[in-house]
Amino acid sequence: MSFELLEKFRDPKLSRKILDKMESGLTKDLRFMEVCGTHTVAIFQSGLRSLLPKQIVHLSGPGCPVCVTHDSEVNAFLDLAGKDNVIMATFGDLMRVPGSNSRNLKKAQADGARIKVVYSPMDSLKIAKENPGDLVVFIGVGFETTAPAIAGTMKMAREQGITNFRVLCFHKTIPTALEALLMDVHSNIDGFLLPGHVSAIIGLEPYNFIAEKFGKSAIVTGFEPLDILQSLYQMVDWRNKGEAHVVNNYKRIVNDKGNATARGILYEVFEQTDALWRGIGNIPGSGLEIRQEWELFDAKKEFGITIEEGEALPGCKCGDILKGIKQPDECPLFKKACTPANPVGPCMVSTEGSCAAYYKYKLD
C-alpha cells in the first residue's frame, strides 16, 4: 500500500474526533487486549496510548511469539547452538532471549556457536547448500503467520533434495490460547483486537467462540492508529448496547475466509499438538508439530528433544502480564532487575514484548 494512502490512517483530526466520541460513550472502564505484539508496538509508537481516555485499559496479550516461547523451548535451542556441525538459523528477535543461567544466542555466538540471523526461512536452505558437511537447524517460533512459510521451506528442501536442513518446531496457534485466557476468571477482558497477520491466514471463523461462548467482542484490526481507534470505538458502542460481535475491520489485507492455500501447506506439513506457553502453561491443542511424513526435517526427532514444564523464573510476572492480569510496571522486577540490557523474562527482550514496549516508549 502506498504511503500516501497509509497517511490517511494516521490523520490526527479524525483520530481526535473518534477519541472524543469514544470518551463521551464510556460509562465504565473498558479492558481491551491486543493479541499481537505488532499492535502493542503500534499503540505505543504512534503515541496513541498517551491519547486514549483513562477509562480505556490497555492490556497486551500472548501474541508476541518470542514472549510466549517457553523456558524449556529456549533452553532446547540454546543447548543445540554450539553443538559440533550444527548451524542455527533464526529470526533476529530470538538472539537475546534469556534461557537458564542467563544464557542466550548472542553469548553462544561469542563462545563460537555458528548462528545465522535470517530474514526468511528460505535463507536457511542457501546456508545448508553452502555447508554440506553441517546440519542447519532453523528455530521455528511463531504463529499461523510464520508457520506456512516454514512449511513451504521444508517442501522446497524436499524438492531440492536438501538433507542437511532441520526445523526445531515450537509453533503455536492463537485461537486456542485466547480460549484459555477467557476461561481464566482473573483475566477479565472486555474485548480483543485480533491480530491482522494471523487472521490473514486463519480467517474469522476460528474466533467466533469469543462472542458465542463468552459474550465478548473481538475485531480483526489493522496496525494504523485509525484502524485501532475505529475498533475500540465499536467495542465501546457494542458493549453499551449489550451486544458482542466478531468482525473483520482489516478487509484491505484480511479475507474473512483467510488464506486456504497457506493453511493447506501448513497442515500438509504440521499437525496440532499440545504446547507449553510461558506463564500460561500447557494449552491442549495449541501447538504445531511436524507430521511423521516429514520427520526427516524434524530437529526434535533428530536430537531427541522433549519439552517439559520446568520451574518458573522467580519473581518474573510475564505470565500474569500475558494474561492481562498485571501491567508490566506492576512487576517488581520491571526496570529494576529486569531491563532490556538484562532481561529476566522474554516480554522484556522481544522488541514486541509488552515490558519492552513500556520500557522503551512510556513516559513516567
Binding site: F3, R10, S50, L51, G92, G142, F143, T145
Partner: protein, 334 residues
C-alpha cells in the same frame, strides 16, 4: 604487483615499499607523506581537535561510496563537529591476505578524492597484511586533527532549555543502504549513502554563528541515540516533532519491509545543530545554501520537561519516549 594482496606486502621489505609508492603515494601523496619519515612533522598551535575512528563496514563497496571515502568522511566530520577546521589525517590499513588489488586501488583512490574534497592531507600511514581469515577483507583506521576556531567549542553537554534542534537533511539513508546491500535486497527505489565531508559547511556555520551550542553527526545509533547522548550530557529534555523529521519515502519503505526504525539508522553526511532559538533561522539559511544542507529544518526544541530524555510528539499528536536501543536492530519474526 600481484593481482592479490600477499603477506609480503606487509613485511616492511621491498614488496611493502612497492605497494606504498605505487599505490598509496600515487593517490594520497603530498610533501609531508612523500618524505616517508617515521612520523609527520606538523606546524600547529592553539586549540586542537583530534579524533580517531576505525572502519570495518560490510559490505566494503555500497551505493554512493566505499570504505575508503567513508574512512575520510567519518573522521573529518568528527573533527569538524568540534568547531574545527580539519587539517590532516593519518590512515592505517589492515588487509586480509588475498584481498583483490583492484579493489584496494579503488578504495585508496576514493580516499584520495575524499581528502581532496575535504581539504585534508594524509600525513602518516601504515599497512599491515594478516593471514586469510584474521580480518574480514579490509579494516581502515583514520585519525584526524584540526584547528578549533570558536571558543567555547560546541559540545554535547552544552544544550540548554529553549534551544532549537536542527538537522541538515534526511535520516537513515546510509544505514538502510548498508543493510540493504548486505542482505542483497533490491529496493524498488534507489537508496544511496549520504556519506560526505561536512567540514566546509560546518566551518561557515560556526564562523557566522559562534552561538552554536552543540554540533553532532548522528552516525551509529542514528538520530535517536545521538539525541539521547546529548540530553543525558546536557541534562535537558529534547521534544522532537515526528512530522518534522525528514525521512525519504524510499527509506521509510525499506525500513518498513525490514522492520527497522529510520531514527536509529546511521547517517554519514548529516549533522545536528543545537543553538538558541533566536539564531535558528539564520543557521537554517546557512545550511540550506550548501548542497549538503539543502534539506535542513528544525525538528524539535530543548526543554526542561523530562531532563535526560527524548520525547517524541507523534504524528497523531501523542507523546512517547524515544529511547536508546539496547544493541543493534534485529529483524523480527513477523
Amino acid at each position: 604487483m600481484s593481482d592479490k594482496v600477499l603477506l609480503d606486502y606487509g613485511s616492511g621489505g621491498r614488496a611493502s615499499q612497492r605497494l606504498i609508492s605505487d599505490l598509496f603515494l600515487n593517490y594520497l601523496g603530498n610533501d609531508e607523506l612523500n618524505r616517508l619519515n617515521d612520523a609527520a612533522e606538523l606546524d600547529m598551535s592553539g586549540r586542537i581537535a583530534m579524533s580517531t575512528d576505525s572502519f570495518v563496514v560490510d559490505p566494503i563497496f555500497f551505493p554512493g561510496g566505499n570504505i575508503g571515502s567513508l574512512a575520510v568522511h567519518g573522521t573529518v566530520n568528527d573533527v569538524a563537529m568540534m568547531g574545527a577546521i580539519p587539517r590532516h589525517i593519518t590512515c592505517a590499513y589492515i588487509l586480509e591476505e588475498g584481498f583483490p588489488m583492484d579493489d584496494l586501488e579503488s578504495i585508496v583512490m576514493s580516499m584520495g578524492h575524499a581528502c581532496k574534497e575535504a581539504g585534508v592531507t594524509v600525513v602518516s600511514g601504515d599497512t599491515k597484511v594478516v593471514p586469510k581469515g584474521a580480518v574480514d577483507k579490509i579494516f581502515i583506521n583514520t585519525t584526524g586533527i584540526g584547528d578549533i576556531i570558536v571558543d567555547p567549542a560546541p559540545s554535547g553537554d552544552a544544550a540548554k532549555p529553549g534551544d532549537a534542534v536542527l538537522i541538515s537533511g534526511t535520516m537513515g539513508d546510509h544505514g538502510l543502504t548498508i543493510l540493504g546491500t548486505r542482505e542483497g535486497l533490491d529496493f524498488e527505489a534507489k537508496v544511496e549513502t549520504d556519506s560526505a565531508s561536512l567540514n566546509h559547511l560546518l566551518v561557515k556555520l560556526v564562523q557566522d554563528l559562534p552561538e552554536v551550542h552543540v554540533l553532532r553527526d548522528p552516525t551509529r545509533g542514528g538520530l535517536a541515540t545521538t539525541l539521547n547522548e546529548i540530553t543525558y550530557s546536557s541534562n535537558v529534555c529534547c521534544e522532537l516533532v515526528e512530522n518534522d523529521i525528514p525521512v525519504k519515502a524510499e527509506v521509510k519503505g525499506g525500513c518498513s519491509i525490514l522492520g527497522l526504525d529510520p531514527l536509529y539508522l546511521a547517517n554519514e553526511g548529516k549533522f545536528l545543530c543545537i543553538l538558541p532559538q533566536e539564531h535558528a533561522e539564520k543557521a537554517l539559511e546557512i545550511m540550506r545554501a550548501d548542497p549538503l544542507g539543502k534539506g535542513a529544518c528544525q525538528i524539535g526544541t530543548m526543554t526542561d520537561a523530562h531532563p535526560g530524555k527524548v520525547v517524541l510528539i507523534t504524528q497523531l499528536g501523542g507523546k512517547r519516549l524515544l529511547g536508546m536501543l539496547e544493541g543493534e536492530q534485529l529483524p523480527r519474526i513477523c
